[in-house]
């Protein structure tokens, strides 16, 4: 196999009338998904100039069943897709559109007006219109056209590009190839025995790579994937009804979403008793919340997953087999099959798995490595490097920037970040990214963000003559919601250390 569409074709042959994806409004079967994708692909190939190295389909909408055949249509054209987080500021959305220069832009009735405002004159399709049943029923599949699109395809072409926060204030697009996804999904579904009997409830938005596990585990095994609308994570009874009535068996969620259910006392309302597998990633799981889950859904297996977008979803996992004290850390565990995960010290020397003292940077090798940052060779070369331990052939290695340590069982633990990157609301945030945006605001002379890990709050300190409310308003225009500081504090001057650098420790005291 060289394209994820072949996984779809296989499942469509095996489970033609089984539901592949559903949302509260509608559902689509595997065979329908395949034919609709092929028909839409033909339309794109005929009318959208789907040629060139970086042909792409960009989505400006929330995830839904209607988007699925359009995503696979992109893959049939050997184009990558890119979901844009619509909660981001206009400025940031525009900078992503400019970076991607998509051949096809897809939005829906709800978001078209805003898209027109952000990018006047940009041509787009309405998802309601391209997936219109009457139109698709009458459309033909031109096999020759599809075969032609395959000609320059290799499994090292990108399948999707996901944008994350970047340290220069510019969003950073991680490009992941077909081979990485097919390789990981095969290993992942095998490891946890995910099959066509499973029902996966998708929590993550599609601009977030946690969703890749849901989408392609379903496509690969024939499991049904139920998409949970974002709004359900403001309303626990709606969410619990959806999970219970949908007979969901597998959750692959962000830690924040897991906490939502337990903190909102969702289990007192209803318990999803069909759950057999609960996996979480993105942040350190608070033991208190994990315990609530295990108490209310005792039959499920719980798995801690670890890995940044750059290595395709996850590279290590740990199955929870015992109770944890509130101050203990759950291991991120051991590597998935076909991935090499190891620690390098500050001199790029390997740290032995038997060394429980020394902390090192978590580094990864294997097919799972992303292709790099889209249209940013400089950033790519900084972190996708040659493995310094291998002098025998060119082995690509990704430096995660995460620090880790082994325990006495040889399990890996995440300890902290090398830089000022933090995880906030399940999203990666470079604190310096916020500083750059704040510094660019008129009336700000200097700024610095710190993170209150205990309360999960971003706190921005600044000097200058702008009022803090005015600064907040400006930042809301520039930054995605999850990056806007929770608290803004004006200072007369910054505390500095002897080198003249801002003293972050002293700022901690001021919060």
């Amino acid at each position: 196999m060289t394209n994820v569409c072949e996984m779809l074709e296989r499942s469509a042959a095996k489970f033609p009338d089984k539901v592949a994806f559903s949302d509260p409004r509608e559902s689509i079967t595997f065979s329908q998904l395949m034919t609709d994708s092929q028909k839409i692909a033909c339309r794109f190939l005929l009318t959208c100039g789907m040629t060139g190295n970086s042909r792409s389909v960009l989505f400006f909408m929330e995830k839904c069943v209607k988007a699925m055949p359009v995503m696979f249509a992109g893959a049939y054209c050997s184009a990558f897709y890119c979901f844009v987080d619509i909660r981001q500021s206009d400025e940031r959305v525009l900078s992503i559109i400019r970076r991607v220069t998509p051949n096809v832009v897809v939005t829906d009735e709800e978001n078209r007006e805003r898209l027109e405002k952000i990018a006047p004159g940009l041509e787009y399709f309405l998802v309601e219109e391209i997936t219109d049943k009457n139109e698709l029923d009458n459309a033909e599949i031109d096999r020759g056209l599809l075969a032609n699109a395959k000609k320059d395809h290799t499994d090292t072409r990108p399948l999707y590009v996901n944008f994350t926060s970047g340290s220069t204030g510019e969003p950073k697009g991680v490009a992941v190839g077909h081979a990485s996804v097919m390789d990981f999904i095969e290993v992942f579904t095998k490891e946890f025995g995910i099959s066509d009997k499973d029902v996966i409830a998708n929590q993550a938005p599609f601009d977030f790579d946690v969703s890749v596990k849901d989408i392609y585990s379903g496509i690969y095994t024939g499991a049904t994937v139920r998409l949970i609308p974002r709004e359900y994570f403001k309303n626990p009874t709606l969410l619990m009804d959806y999970l219970c009535d949908g007979k969901v068996t597998v959750l692959i969620w962000a830690v924040t979403a897991m906490c939502f259910v337990s903190i909102m006392n969702g289990f007192d309302y209803r318990c999803p008793d069909k759950l057999r597998l609960v996996m979480f990633s993105g942040e350190v799981m608070p033991i208190k919340q994990l315990n609530k889950w295990r108490k209310h859904v005792p039959g499920a297996i719980y798995v801690n997953l670890y890995g940044p977008t750059e290595i395709t979803c996850n590279c290590t996992f740990h199955v929870i087999t015992r109770d944890y004290e509130l101050d203990e850390s759950i291991p991120i565990g051991r590597p998935f099959c076909n991935e090499k995960v190891f620690l390098l010290d500050e001199n790029d020397e390997l740290i032995s798995i038997y060394n429980h003292q020394k902390e090192g940077e978590i580094c990864v090798c294997g097919t799972c490595l992303a292709l790099g940052y889209f249209r940013d060779m400089k950033k790519t070369e900084e972190v996708f490097v040659r493995n310094p331990l291998n002098n025998d052939w060119y082995e690509r290695m990704y430096r995660t920037g995460d620090l880790g340590k082994y325990d006495r069982f040889g399990d890996l633990h995440y300890t902290s970040r090398k830089d000022h990157q933090i995880k906030h609301m399940g999203q990666r945030v470079e604190l310096s990214d916020i500083d750059v945006s704040a510094n660019a605001v008129d009336g700000v002379s200097r700024s610095c963000c710190i993170y209150d890990h205990k309360k999960s709050r971003i706190i921005l300190f600044y000097t200058g003559d702008i009022e803090k409310d005015a600064l907040s308003d400006k930042l809301k225009e520039k930054l995605p919601e999850f990056m806007v500081p929770n608290k803004t504090i004006k200072l007369d001057e910054f505390p500095v250390n002897k080198n003249g650098k801002i003293d972050r420790k002293a700022l901690e005291e001021l919060k």
């Binding site: 909660r87 619990m240 906490c259 903190i263 909102m264 006392n265 309360k455 709050r457 308003d473």
Partner: protein
């Protein structure tokens, strides 16, 4: 009420909690904000907000949140 406003300010100091009546309906609070608010209320006011009470009507304004807390404390 002051205690509640203090707590809300701590979660998001850029929102006018005193006057806003459509915190949820207008999408001013994201689900992560609500999560933080509920965790803080549970702790500060020593109540357990049941899932069935977590609906927009109870979180659209500080006043509505206060009414919910008072009701839970009386129960």
């Amino acid at each position: 009420m002051d205690e509640l406003l203090e707590l809300l300010k701590d979660v998001r100091d850029d929102v006018d909690f005193e006057n806003c009546e459509s915190l949820i309906d207008d999408g001013i609070l994201a689900s992560f904000d609500i999560l933080q608010i509920i965790a803080a209320i549970n702790e500060e006011f020593d109540v357990e907000i049941p899932a069935t009470s977590i609906i927009p009507a109870n979180f659209n304004s500080a006043k509505a949140m206060m009414a919910l807390i008072t009701k839970l404390q009386e129960d």
